[in-house]
């Protein structure tokens, strides 16, 4: 079975936790299961990098668990 995840799905999952998030994704491997994900949200202000990434992993938990998302490199920021 071919399992993969789209940019739109990743964005939807992240926005469920962070409604203001600006989400950019880049498919690393052309197989739609290894992504670079960049997330900008006001919610990150005052959070450690560890906790920011924990929040993104929690948002993407379902996709990581079912294997549609194999690996993700996360960058986070707050709006300028």
């Amino acid at each position: 079975m071919l399992v993969m995840i789209t940019h739109a799905k990743i964005e939807t999952l992240i926005r469920e936790k962070l409604p203001d998030a600006v989400v950019q994704t880049q498919d690393r491997t052309g197989t739609l299961d290894h992504y670079n994900v960049s997330v900008v949200s006001r919610e990150f202000a005052g959070m450690s990098l560890l906790d920011r990434n924990r929040l993104i992993y929690a948002a993407l938990g379902e996709a990581l668990k079912d294997g549609s998302l194999h690996a993700v490199e996360i960058k986070t920021g707050t709006p300028a």
């Binding site: 990098l49 560890l50 990434n53 924990r54 938990g61 690996a71």
Partner: protein, 110 residues
């Protein structure tokens, strides 16, 4: 997590100043991110150990629970959890990582 698993993890992170729980080993990494992490630490010249978490599912599960971090690799420096290169990369750029490593290895000599 069983006390045995906890003991084994505590022992790992006490024994190695820089410890990477990854997929595969230093000589045979089985995941691009584990390889990237090995290359990342190669640049500093400090000794580091890579433990294959795939070889021990109970430990892998225990680590996820203990760190609240679902993915591999997982990096510990001086017994403290630092996530992966998504965290360590920015810490390296800001100079913070250098301080962490220097203090970790300064203690080792005393």
């Amino acid at each position: 997590m069983t006390p045995e698993v906890k003991q084994a993890i505590d022992n790992d992170i006490k024994t190695h100043k820089i410890l990477v729980y990854g997929k595969g080993t230093k000589s045979m990494p089985r995941c691009g991110f584990t390889l990237e992490t090995i290359e990342f630490f190669n640049q500093f010249g400090y000794p580091f150990e890579v433990v294959d978490a795939l070889a021990d599912p109970a430990k892998r599960e225990g680590l996820a629970e203990m760190t609240d971090w679902p993915t591999l690799p997982k990096v510990f420096i001086d017994g403290k959890f630092y996530g992966d290169t998504d965290i360590l990369g920015p810490m390296h750029e800001s100079g913070e990582l250098k301080t962490v490593l220097e203090s970790a290895f300064a203690e080792a000599k005393t």
